[in-house]
């Protein structure tokens, strides 16, 4: 994900957050369907531009994780915005890292940061947490 896409993703998420409270939606399609957004049958929501929709469609991983990303961004946007990301991949990974645990473990940001900053950093264990493949709690 390049810088332009990073900004695009952030803007789309902000648009969704401004229109809705996404905790109740299963996925992006569910969000579209339940919110209606004046969408005619077979049409598209008006609050997202054609570019927005094209971006989401072209990034399956983003689409798959979209609601989680929205929840994570909404809950932790202060942390995400304040963090100075030098690497756009790190930005997305951080977002996913948080979002992977939002549904099951709605913890405060300090708890999550503890896991990121402890000695799992830079190990395969950290990658497993990011990818939601780990069975270990953060401060095990």
């Amino acid at each position: 994900m390049n810088d332009i896409d990073k900004v695009k993703l952030r803007n789309i998420i902000t648009k969704v957050l401004n229109r809705s409270s996404p905790e109740d939606y299963k996925n992006f399609d569910d969000l579209m369907e339940k919110q209606h957004f004046n969408v005619p049958p077979g049409g598209k929501p008006t609050f997202l531009s054609d570019d927005d929709l094209e971006f989401i469609e072209k990034n399956p991983s983003v689409k798959d994780k979209f609601i989680d990303l929205c929840i994570a961004f909404g809950k932790y946007q202060d942390h995400i915005i304040s963090k100075n990301y030098n690497d756009t991949t790190e930005y997305l990974l951080d977002l996913l890292k948080i979002s992977n645990h939002v549904r099951e473990v709605p913890k405060n940001i300090e708890y999550i940061k503890k896991g990121i900053e402890n000695n799992l950093s830079g190990t395969i264990e950290e990658i497993l947490i990011i990818l939601d493949l780990s069975h270990r709690p953060y401060d095990a």
Binding site: L93, K107, G122, I124, I127, H135, Y138
Partner: protein, 210 residues
């Protein structure tokens, strides 16, 4: 090192092996990621004295290692997750999506004597084993001098060898007897056989706030 067979156009296939679905995916990683994994595993084996399992080199300390090439490992485990999802869909078994990584390591055979090979690791020696506490297992063939050196699966006296195509991955049932089919040292001295194994298990949900 140039890969032996980098023109394989296959994607994935499934087959019924003794009543269980075995999944085989090909062309799993890019050459850059393959080389990154080879270098990282080589460095781990050289720098960590805890690196043996019999005649095979084994990355016993991989889970503690501070990775030098994090990107290739992210790509590796992302790739593994992708294939696990596909396996869940193909087998119509959503419980696969709940599995978590129980263990992982790399094993490499570079050198041993012909006598050691014949007495300890030849396919008939009896290295068949199973893991009854695990639900699914991944074997990724990172380096292999020939696809004939894959994985032997045995059930009730019946045997099946899954080819070990380089840069391919299988999803198998580790609770069924299996064993590596290892090349003789005359081959591995010039071209080692290296696999990465990832085992998956179902864990009960843990409440992290208690």
């Amino acid at each position: 090192m140039a890969r032996l067979y980098d023109k394989d156009s296959r994607t994935f296939t499934t087959m019924d092996v003794f009543g269980r679905t075995l999944y085989h995916a090909y062309n799993c990683l890019s050459p850059e990621d393959i080389n990154g994994l080879i270098e990282e595993i080589d460095d781990e084996l050289k720098s960590n004295p805890d690196n043996r399992d019999g005649l095979l080199e084994t990355t016993n300390g991989l889970c503690y290692r501070k990775l030098k090439n994090k990107k290739c490992w992210i790509n590796f485990f992302s790739m593994v997750k992708t294939h696990m999802r596909r396996y869940a869909k193909l087998t119509n078994d959503p419980s696969v999506l709940q599995l978590k990584v129980a263990s992982y390591w790399a094993k490499r055979l570079v050198d041993c004597t012909q006598e050691q090979y014949e007495s300890e690791i030849y396919i008939n020696y009896g290295n068949l084993h199973s893991h009854h506490n695990l639900n699914l297992g991944i074997i990724y063939y990172l380096e292999n001098p020939s696809r004939i050196y894959g994985t032997l699966i045995e059930d009730s006296g019946r045997e099946y060898i899954v080819p070990g195509d380089e840069n391919s991955l299988i999803i198998h049932h580790p609770n069924v007897n299996h064993a590596a089919v290892l090349p003789p040292p005359i081959l591995t001295r010039d071209y080692p056989r290296t696999v990465i194994v990832v085992d998956f298990k179902r864990y009960d949900l843990v409440k992290l706030d208690e």
